[in-house]
């Protein structure tokens, strides 16, 4: 059936989780219909396609919805086998999955905490972010990308470091991405942001500054009233 064919992506313009999927689709040359969602005012469509969590991204392929950005990346890689995101060798695949999980669960969480906290919590989060970055610096180990010569799974998941972390730094006047401490990561950021397919698909910086400043303020107020 015509309407069930093809690929749709439900997203939110500033979500790093959505961006990973957009980049993956672009790298594989997959055409898709993008549907912008207001995550603060969720549509019936979003709630129907992701009833458990009601979150973006949701990929819809031939009418079937797939939520969770990393689950979506694995799905895309399995269905469209050209330009693979994950390596072929099982040990290398395990290594990629490990570092993707680390970037998504640890570094991303610490960076968010650093943005949305004050005082001791804030200092602790900065320290944790830098310790996490140190580990990723070691893993990069002179490679152009985490995926080697080409952008791969880990690069897409860790991509938020390149464009989102500098925005956080600017908002709270903090320094996490110290180029003297993290020369490999600094190099990687340049290579990543200059990749023709990546740089076409980044949220506008001024909009991100406004959005994340606002989020920080809202969360700080919420947290102080919860105490």
């Amino acid at each position: 059936m015509e309407e069930n064919q093809g690929v749709k992506l439900l997203g939110f313009w500033v979500s790093p989780y959505v961006l990973r999927v957009k980049w993956a689709l672009k790298l594989k040359g997959i055409e898709y219909e993008y549907i912008e969602e207001d995550v603060f005012n969720k549509s019936p469509l979003l709630l129907k396609l992701n009833p458990v969590k009601g979150q973006v991204p949701v990929l819809v392929h031939d009418g079937k919805p797939i939520p969770e950005s990393i689950v979506i990346l694995e799905y895309i890689d399995e269905v469209w086998k050209h330009s693979p995101l994950l390596p072929q060798d099982p040990y290398e695949r395990a290594n990629s999955r490990f570092w993707a999980k680390f970037a998504a669960e640890k570094l991303q969480a610490y960076a968010w905490e650093a943005l949305c906290s004050r005082g001791e919590d804030h200092e602790r989060a900065i320290k944790a972010s830098m310790e996490a970055l140190e580990k990723m610096e070691k893993e990069l180990n002179g490679k152009k990308f985490f995926g080697g010569d080409k952008i791969g799974f880990v690069d897409l998941v860790a991509g938020f470091i390149s464009y989102q972390l500098p925005v956080y730094e600017e908002i709270v006047s903090m320094k996490i991405l110290d180029s003297s401490k993290f020369p490999a990561i600094t190099n990687w950021i340049n290579n990543f942001l200059n990749h023709p397919l990546i740089k076409e698909e980044l949220p506008p910086k001024h909009k991100m500054l406004a959005y994340f400043s606002n989020r920080r303020n809202v969360i700080l107020v919420q947290n102080s009233s919860n105490k």
Binding site: Y75, E78, V79
Partner: protein, 232 residues
């Protein structure tokens, strides 16, 4: 493959370690289980998982792999003969991975909150959340099993291993809270599944008895209280 080729650094009470044990058993892989003292981490553990310093770690040849779900995927890919742990169809695989993420990130913290609840009111609130989650998992089971006995269909698969290895802690939680968490009046399909999972040959002897886990929890609580007192 020689037994010494595959080693598993683990600790009996860990459901994450249990997952790897069940996966290896399902694939009939001989392995050496090297129990770890998590209070005093071994050189081998620190060398094999320098990033997290946690169990489980699978060491295959001389290559270490960490994170239980990463390990289970690795086992399925290296020993790719039957039985397959992950479903064959990409959409079914995505569904299984989605529920695995839900179980680990959303549902199991709810169980932990329930077990740790100190007063009746917070216990009741925590229990309600656990049951809501179980209802979702009941539906997921019905959809995934397609009338057969396991999430994986006729045989145990990925999602069975992911959820099943929490059953020891669920039973321990029932002892501690005095509540029925897996209740046949609420989630009958999951109750049946839990029975089949626990009595499966690949699970035999892996998951500690609930009483053992209750003792383990009490011991940990005492150790934490002692550490707290001595650091003040």
């Amino acid at each position: 493959m020689a037994a010494s080729d595959v080693k598993l650094l683990g600790a009996r009470p860990s459901p994450f370690v249990n997952r790897v044990q069940v996966a290896l058993n399902l694939k009939s892989i001989d392995y050496e289980f090297i129990p770890q003292n998590l209070a005093e981490k071994s050189e081998l553990l620190l060398k094999s998982n320098p990033v997290h310093k946690k169990v489980p770690v699978l060491i295959h040849g001389d290559q270490p792999i960490s994170e239980s779900l990463v390990i289970v995927h690795y086992v399925d890919e290296v020993w790719s003969g039957p039985p397959s742990l992950l479903p064959a169809d990409p959409y079914d695989r995505a569904t299984a991975r989605f529920w695995a993420a839900y179980i680990d990130e959303k549902w199991s913290p709810l169980v932990r909150n329930l077990i740790n609840a100190t007063d009746e009111q917070s216990k009741a609130a925590a229990a309600e959340k656990v049951f809501e989650g179980l209802k979702l998992l009941e539906d997921a089971f019905v959809n995934s099993s397609k009338g057969k006995g396991f999430f994986g269909g006729e045989k145990l698969g990925f999602l069975d291993v992911v959820l099943g290895c929490y059953l020891g802690w669920v039973r321990a939680g029932e002892i501690i809270t005095g509540l029925k968490i897996l209740d046949e009046t609420k989630t009958a399909a999951l109750v049946g599944w839990a029975e089949r999972f626990t009595s499966n040959k690949a699970v035999d002897g892996v998951i500690p008895e609930p009483e053992e886990l209750v003792s383990f929890m009490k011991m940990q609580a005492r150790a934490a209280a002692a550490a707290d007192a001595s650091s003040k």
